[in-house]
């Protein structure tokens, strides 16, 4: 099949999957919409869909109609920061065929370590957040050694191991917070305030003009995308990771060190998740008060699958997920449709992306077309 057809197929397939997910969502919204008559329900559904699809970046007003809202777009950008990092983390690990689900615990641990550095390790501004983020990444990398080494040495399932690890991380952090680190003067479990020097400064912060805040974490996330893409497609380590993911036997036969590379992929995945947690914590919060897994790691898995494990596609997928999540929130607020709907939409998209045979007949048609053209061309050449 030609490259152009391949691309066309991928794009069409993605759009159809998203469309089906939205259709399913529409049906569910309709069922849960308020209203006595069919028409009432239909109207409520329309209102809810409008909020979900347009709400994230437009404002509705009676007289002016739709108007673009820069603040809301910046909010989406801000929401993209942590999920770009977890998306990249999952991309790297899944590329090596390592189904490590530890990005969720990783981002929480990263956030926690960042908070500790921000509170207890006074450093000059500028250096402080940098050190904090590097330490977060390293800490999570070290923890990821557990599933990675168990897999490489004893062939223990990294999926089960990392999944359990998430809860161990969460409860250890809760234990430390409850027992030792909480600010006892406050009514809830939260840490002491971060030192001023640890803040990741805002890039856009104009409360009077548009009331939005976007930290330098966003360009950092985009730089991470670039570095991750270079690593995966332009370096020998990324190459080894990808080859192992495609055919481990081939990689072994070619003389690559499979065990080492499996460990490496999970160390890098851990670092990215940890760094993401740190950047999120230092950019958005003044105290550490997370008492449950934040969910960014799970979203990261969806993003990696949407992006086809290609780091360069991660920002796009992250934008889509952040947009959808914002839309569902708005829908819940203004149209009284449960925000949990986003999980269903995610689930359906997930299903169609993961389904190998989805639209395979259409793909087969394109393949046959390409093969016929090629044969015709070969025939024409021969006659010349």
């Amino acid at each position: 099949m030609t490259r152009k057809r391949q691309l066309r197929f991928t794009v069409i397939r993605s759009l159809v999957a998203i469309l089906i997910a939205l259709l399913v969502a529409t049906v569910l919204i309709f069922i849960s919409a308020e209203g006595r008559t069919f028409m009432d329900k239909l109207q409520a559904t329309g209102e809810a869909l409008k909020q979900m699809l347009l709400g994230p970046i437009f404002r509705f007003s009676k007289n002016a109609g739709l108007s673009f809202e820069a603040k809301r777009l910046l909010d989406i950008f801000a929401a993209m920061i942590p999920i770009i990092f977890t998306g990249l983390s999952v991309c790297v690990m899944f590329s090596a065929n390592q189904f490590n689900l530890g990005a969720e615990g990783g981002i929480m641990l990263g956030a926690f370590v960042a908070a500790m550095v921000a509170i207890y390790l006074p450093l000059p501004a500028g250096i402080h957040p940098l050190v904090a983020v590097l330490l977060c990444g390293t800490a999570v990398s070290v923890v990821m050694l557990i599933p990675a080494l168990l897999k490489a040495k004893l062939n223990v399932s990294e999926m089960v191991c990392s999944l359990m690890l998430n809860y161990i991380i969460m409860y250890v952090i809760k234990f430390l917070m409850n027992s030792f680190l909480a600010d006892k003067s406050k009514g809830q479990i939260q840490s002491h305030r971060f030192l001023e020097s640890a803040n990741i400064p805002a890039m856009v912060n104009d409360p009077l003009f548009i009331g939005a805040k976007l930290t330098w974490g966003f360009p950092l996330a985009l730089i991470a995308v670039l570095l991750c893409g270079l690593f995966m497609y332009r370096s020998r380590w990324g190459y080894s990771i990808r080859m192992i993911g495609i055919n481990q036997e081939f990689a072994r036969y070619s003389g690559m060190n499979v065990g080492k590379t499996i460990v490496l992929s999970q160390l890098i995945g851990g670092f990215l998740a940890g760094a993401g947690g740190g950047i999120e914590m230092l950019g958005r919060y003044e105290t550490f008060s997370w008492n449950a897994l934040p969910g960014y790691g799970w979203t990261g898995i969806t993003i990696a699958i949407l992006a086809g494990n290609n780091p360069y596609m991660v920002p796009l997928a992250a934008f889509f997920m952040a947009y959808l999540s914002k839309g569902c929130d708005l829908m819940a607020t203004y149209a009284r449709v449960p925000a949990q709907l986003i999980n269903i939409i995610q689930g359906v998209i997930f299903l169609f992306f993961a389904a190998d045979r989805f639209l395979s007949k259409y793909r087969q048609k394109l393949v046959v077309k390409s093969a016929e053209e090629e044969l015709a061309r070969a025939g024409a050449l021969k006659e010349d």
Binding site: M1, L230, R234, S235, R236, Y239, S240, R242, M243, I246, N247, E249, F250, A251, R252, Y253, S254, G255, M256, N257, S360, R363, Q364, V367, V368, S370, A371, E374, L375
Partner: protein, 526 residues
């Protein structure tokens, strides 16, 4: 001359019309092929590897679905969506690689999926045995109902397969290279049985490359070439030469011109290698030999006599129970492949799809897999893409790989071109020893010729080559000297291959003869 005699429609049990099959990797395996079977005939389906024979038969057996075209069985147009549909219409297949459960008895294998029961929940073994005996007698196919499949000889396994199809009501039997695994004695026996089946009104499709067998047993033959039908002929009307020309299309002389070898010092030394596999079968029994610089040492033998295990040991996919192997004095057993490659050992693996390539990656990514870490291809932490592109383009050019570009997915290429990519990588890493395991299996004539020439060229430039091949012509043609493996042992060593004949080889390959330890010992050049 094509068979022009028209028959009434009802005399055909199968008519496949204008069958086209395009696989999802874009390869067109069949193009508008017509194929029909008359009741009670033995019909040969011939063609080179990759001509589309298996694909055509898979469609008749419901394993694959045609992209276009119709299949008519006994006058009824059918959609054969799965083997069970095919079986229900009386079509059975005897696969080249037997589909039997080795740990079960012959009778149990016979009734798999249609088990006779007693008291509603237990397997009625007595009935299974009775059924097996009944069919065995009726069709003159002798099997031992109570023996475990793993203990019976290959010939009997094949009979079990045939009986399995017959028990399920098959009237049309597709036999995929049935004689490939048989000794000549067993082949003769099989032919008697097939004639017997034919006399009883059964129709048989006989897939084979062996011209003598085709001439002996078949009534008609269909020849495929490059996925197209080259016509249907009455076997008695065509000569072997004609068939051969139709199959290959040109008179390819696969005689590789090679000068006399001037062997240097030994590169690979193997001493007393022993290995017992997981099923307690001794696969390697005190194997010792040397391969010298500038010579091609061939290993001939019926498949499954320890060749695969030997290569696995030499490339460190497995470790032997005893013995040693060195390359230029360095022990190689149990080393990581990284070190094996650093020592200058290359392997053209037996199964290229299993470990020879990463099918989802590009040609370029496949061709640099053993050298991606080399200084030449890296600039600091990143790849030197220019150097990598140049290397890939150079190898594609030198090894005449037919492709659109270096970034094309390798899985889209034909078998021959995939093998060329594997060979390009393995031959271009300046090896001191090449292990070539079935280097031309299942690929087209052009690619075969090319790869053989390259192999000879390299050996003449001083590389030591160990060639394992099930293709007798290939080992005899290419090897300077030759060993025959049988039952995990070296059965014979021939220092000079020029006056060897198929007959002599056959006797050693089948274990009818065995050279003395002294004669075999000459392969170690101490």
């Amino acid at each position: 001359m094509p068979d022009e005699k028209k028959l009434a429609a009802e005399e055909y049990v199968v008519r496949m019309k204008k069958i086209t099959k395009v696989y999802s990797n874009g390869a067109a395996a069949n193009r508008e092929v017509d194929f029909d079977l008359r009741k009670g005939e033995i019909h040969a389906l011939m063609g080179e590897n990759g001509a589309g024979k298996s694909t055509l038969m898979k469609m008749l057996f419901g394993l694959e679905q045609p992209t276009s075209g119709t299949i008519v069985v006994n006058g009824e147009t059918l959609k054969l969506t799965s083997p069970s549909v095919a079986i229900a219409h009386g079509i059975g297949m005897v696969h080249q690689h037997f589909m039997l459960v080795p740990s079960l008895s012959v009778a149990e294998n016979m009734v798999l999926g249609m088990v006779p029961q007693k008291s509603g929940m237990f397997i009625d073994r007595a009935k299974a045995i009775e059924l097996t005996k009944e069919y065995s007698e009726r069709f003159n196919l002798f099997v031992e109902p109570e023996a475990k499949v793993m203990d019976i000889p290959v010939g009997m396994k094949q009979k079990v397969e045939i009986l399995k199809a017959l028990v399920r009501g098959a009237k049309i039997l597709i036999m995929d290279e049935p004689t490939a695994v048989l000794t000549s004695q067993e082949t003769a026996e099989l032919f008697v049985e097939l004639k017997h089946l034919k006399a009883q009104g059964y129709t048989i499709v006989f897939i084979s490359h062996k011209l003598n067998e085709i001439m002996e047993i078949t009534d008609r033959l269909t020849i495929l070439r490059g996925g197209r039908s080259m016509g249907v002929y009455n076997t008695c009307d065509v000569s072997k030469e004609e068939i051969s020309r139709l199959m290959v299309g040109r008179d390819v002389v696969l005689e590789v011109q090679k000068g006399k070898a001037v062997p240097g010092r030994p590169v690979l030394r193997v001493r007393n290698l022993e290995y017992v596999n997981d099923w307690n079968k001794k696969m390697l029994d005190k194997i010792s030999f040397d391969v010298r610089e500038g010579e091609i040492l061939g290993i001939a033998g019926v498949e499954g006599n320890g060749q695969k295990e030997l290569i696995d040991m030499l490339f460190s996919f497995n470790t032997p129970d005893a013995g040693e192997a060195t390359v230029n004095g360095v022990s190689i057993l149990g080393c990581p492949q990284e070190k094996i490659r650093a020592l200058g050992i290359s392997l053209v693996p037996e199964d290229r799809m299993l470990n020879g390539i990463a099918a989802g990656a590009s040609i370029e990514e496949n061709v640099i897999s053993d050298r991606a870490g080399k200084k030449k291809f890296n600039r600091g932490p990143l790849f030197n893409m220019k150097a990598i592109h140049e290397e890939a383009d150079r190898l594609i050019r030198e090894y005449a790989v037919l492709c659109k570009s270096r970034s094309q997915h390798i899985g889209m290429l034909s078998g021959g071109n995939i093998q060329k990519v594997v060979v390009a990588r393995e031959f271009s890493s300046s090896p001191v020893l090449i292990l070539a395991d079935q280097p031309t299996r299942g690929i087209d004539v052009g690619a075969t010729e090319f790869i053989r020439k390259k192999l000879v060229e390299l050996s003449r430039s001083g590389v030591a080559v160990l060639l394992v091949s099930a293709d007798l012509n290939e080992v005899m043609e290419l090897s300077d000297s030759l060993i025959v493996m049988h039952g995990g042992q070296i059965a014979a060593y021939f220092e000079d291959t020029s006056d060897l004949t198929d007959d002599i080889m056959g006797e050693y390959m089948l274990g009818l003869k065995q050279q003395s330890a002294e004669e075999i010992g000459r392969v170690c050049h101490d």
